[in-house]
């Protein structure tokens, strides 16, 4: 084991820090579109979008350790996300690199890296949520096209996305072998998008209806009937992407700050032994989440693909979200019922916990694929 970084990696860390000194103002509005545009352009010029993708795919050709350092340094300064297209950069791009044809790579990767496209992901349907493999949106072959009919739901960012990375059924007799992955422009005739307000009242996800949407066979990602293979890899990337510890580190810093400010029995809450234990327990599990992520990165460096083990941190993160929120609301007391930053988080974190598979789905994956218990 070795947790030290090489001199080259330390030098890279210093480079990220000076980039941040130069490009990240001490105060900024993370929702300001002009600022974000400028920020993403600077990231693109530095080559840090798709940083660990191979050079021939237009990426930075960096090691996953360098990418890890990049994300940690960015997060430590609370910089805006690395690129505006989280889904595109975290799993659509890697899936294109692995399974895409040369034409598909040329068509999609440059604009993805330039931040000019935005991807959404079409997995869930009204009748296929946790049981994703039961999906029934049909794609029937008609000449050089597929004709797609059906409905997707909980499609995050469908209302702004340029493309959808989606699963369709090309064969009804085979549960897994009948699933195929296709890439469709969201402005294709026959696509109708209906936003669904989430419980905060914001629009983050949508219903998407497909009526006789024609999709060229050339827009299929991977072979017909091999969509499940594509999606298992994409979901592993999604789960590890969701479960990086950086965001939780910022969360616990804020929670500690809150515990210093809030008073309990005339003293700062942070002096209460129970509060201290709770905060230390959160810190401990977040530290472990970061370390477990490093163990999984080591696996990748040794040539193993991300797989079921990504459910470990996804499950842990879900538990942390729920417990840390309950704790924050407890600290706020009656303030918990008003509007505010913590209260907003208290409503919105549910999306993160459910997205990419609910905690119960992660438990199923661990129990069945790792522990070898009988399948549901």
């Amino acid at each position: 084991m070795d947790f030290d970084f090489s001199p080259e990696e330390d030098a890279f860390r210093a480079r990220v820090q000076s980039f941040l000194d130069a490009h990240l103002p001490s105060e900024f509005d993370a929702r300001d579109p002009d600022f974000l545009k400028q920020w993403n352009r600077a990231l693109g010029e530095a080559g840090w979008l798709g940083f660990a993708w191979p050079k021939e795919a237009g990426g930075g050709g960096a090691t996953i350790i360098e990418q890890f350092i990049l994300k940690e340094e960015m997060s430590a300064r609370r910089a805006p996300p690395l690129g505006s297209d989280f889904m595109g950069l975290t799993w659509v791009g890697p899936a294109l690199i692995e399974h895409g044809s040369d034409e598909q790579k040329q068509q999609f990767l440059p604009e993805l890296l330039a931040g000019e496209s935005c991807w959404c992901t079409g997995y869930s349907e009204p009748g296929a949520g946790s049981d994703l493999a039961s999906l029934s949106t049909r794609a029937e072959r008609d000449g050089d096209d597929y004709v797609v009919n059906g409905q997707k739901i909980w499609t995050t960012l469908a209302h702004v996305a340029k493309y959808i990375f989606m699963l369709v059924r090309t064969e009804s007799s085979s549960r897994y072998g009948g699933i195929t992955c296709v890439l469709i422009p969201m402005d294709s005739p026959g696509i109708e998008i209906q936003p669904i307000p989430n419980l905060s009242g914001e629009v983050s996800f949508n219903q998407v209806f497909f009526k006789d949407v024609r999709v060229p066979v050339a827009s299929r990602l991977g072979k017909e009937g091999e969509g499940w293979r594509v999606v298992v890899g994409a979901l592993a990337n999604e789960r590890s992407g969701i479960s990086e510890a950086t965001e939780k580190l910022r969360h616990i810093e804020d929670l500690e700050e809150l515990a210093r400010k809030v008073m309990r029995g005339g003293r700062p809450a942070v002096e209460d032994p129970e509060v201290r234990r709770k905060l230390a327990s959160f810190r401990t599990r977040i530290a472990a989440m970061r370390l477990t992520g490093m163990r999984h990165l080591t696996n990748q460096l040794q040539g193993r693909r991300p797989s079921s083990e990504t459910s470990i941190n996804k499950l842990l993160r879900g538990q942390l979200e729920i417990e840390m929120d309950a704790f924050a609301m407890g600290l706020l007391g009656t303030q918990a019922q008003t509007q505010g930053r913590w209260q907003y988080l208290s409503l919105s974190y549910h999306g993160t916990v459910i997205g990419g598979g609910t905690p119960n789905i992660q438990r199923n994956i661990i129990a069945e694929r790792i522990l070898g218990l009988p399948k549901d």
């Binding site: 947790f3 370390l291 477990t292 163990r295 438990r363 199923n364 399948k375």
Partner: protein, 373 residues
């Protein structure tokens, strides 16, 4: 950055596991637990010859000169097998002598500890029952050249078997001291106590006019308070390492039971009410491993974060083993409540492992302070 054990380290794990699988399965563990000594002298001698006992003792004093990364591997396996032996006690005694003893003291004691011809332990806890240097109340009085001890130490692990006892006490104006006394010295008496987990033995130590000669004092480098915290930290890390293996053992046994036991015409492991708690235990063990392995690396490499990492590891380990024990019993159902089924052995081990060298209440508070709260 590389978070994986080396091939040599994996080889060590396989060797340890192979020997314990053949020589110390659960039937043997039960036999040993029922024996007066509580461990096998023969097996003890054998692992001494194999170098397990002296793994971290410097080569110059008859040990293997390896680090805690290797030790964690050994302890994971002894924990998995519920291996009954005075291993951790002897290890802590040897670490104290290695770290704080002078060359003569190391020459005198370490070679015997490395091969197991002498057994060591640490006498620390008192009535105050607190794993902290400030909690030490035992006081020595001066008598000529040496010191004399009168008082008690409690919950001294493996004290009935021990030849050498590292004792922590105060003298003169209350300064802390660490000394090695021989258990056969005049005035030393031991009252064994009945453990819940008969694979882990302990007792109370009464010292009545026990002489501590000057050459028994471990006085090398650093403040005694710091040294005591260091030894307690090693105890916490050793226990957390055993917990990893013990929790894995309990999980493996329960997963197997869930695959074999049928109800409603199917294996109970089919039901989410059974598989989900097992998945949760697995997630917790993996999370714990990350903490324990990092703490071992930090210790071996003099990383500043070692104290925090160790407290995080032991705090979380105490929680994990407590839950793993209970989950194991509950998922076994009524047979889990019998003496016959083995899962109860793991529950009993959790009663030992949770408090030793500090429970989660102790270590989370320590982690909070070390983390700046």
């Amino acid at each position: 950055m590389n978070f994986a054990f080396s091939e040599e380290q994996e080889f060590l794990r396989n060797e340890v596991r192979k020997l314990l699988d053949t020589r110390c399965g659960l039937p043997q563990v039960r036999e040993l637990a029922a024996s007066p000594e509580g461990y096998s002298l023969e097996l003890w001698g054998q692992i001494g010859e194999l170098g397990w006992l002296g793994l971290t003792i410097p080569e110059a004093y008859g040990g293997g000169g390896l680090g805690w990364e290797e030790l964690v591997i050994l302890l994971e396996e002894t924990g998995r097998h519920l291996f009954p032996s005075p291993l951790i006690s002897t290890l802590l005694c040897a670490e104290a002598i290695t770290r704080f003893g002078n060359d003569a003291q190391r020459q005198r004691w370490l070679p015997d500890l490395a091969i197991g011809s002498r057994i060591g332990t640490l006498a620390f806890l008192e009535e105050s029952d607190h794993w902290s240097a400030d909690a030490v109340g035992l006081c020595a009085r001066r008598d000529g050249e040496g010191l004399v001890l009168d008082g008690e130490k409690r919950f001294v692990q493996d004290i009935a078997a021990a030849d050498l006892v590292v004792v922590v006490f105060r003298c003169d104006a209350g300064e802390l001291r660490i000394a090695v006394i021989e258990s056969g010295s005049d005035g030393v008496s031991v009252q064994s106590r009945e453990p819940i987990d008969a694979t882990k033995r302990f007792g109370d130590l009464t010292l009545s006019g026990v002489r501590v000669p000057p050459d028994a004092l471990l006085e090398g480098g650093g403040s005694a308070t710091q040294q005591i915290q260091e030894i307690l930290q090693l105890g916490a890390l050793a226990t957390a390492s055993e917990i990893v293996g013990t929790a894995e053992g309990a999980l493996a046994l329960t997963v197997q039971y869930a695959k074999d036991r049928e109800q409603f015409q199917q294996p109970i492991g089919h039901f989410q009410g059974v598989k989900h708690p097992l998945a949760e235990t697995y997630m917790e063990i993996e999370t714990l491993k990350s903490l324990v392995y990092f703490a071992a690396w930090a210790l071996d490499n003099g990383d500043d974060g070692v104290a925090l990492a160790t407290s995080q590891a032991k705090a979380y380990a105490s929680e994990v083993i407590t839950r793993a024990g209970v989950t194991g019993i509950q998922l076994h159902g009524a047979v889990g409540y019998t003496l016959e089924y083995d899962i109860q052995l793991y529950l009993k081990r959790s009663k030992w492992a949770r408090p030793m060298y500090g429970d989660e209440i102790h270590h989370y508070e320590r982690a909070a302070t070390l983390g700046g709260l």
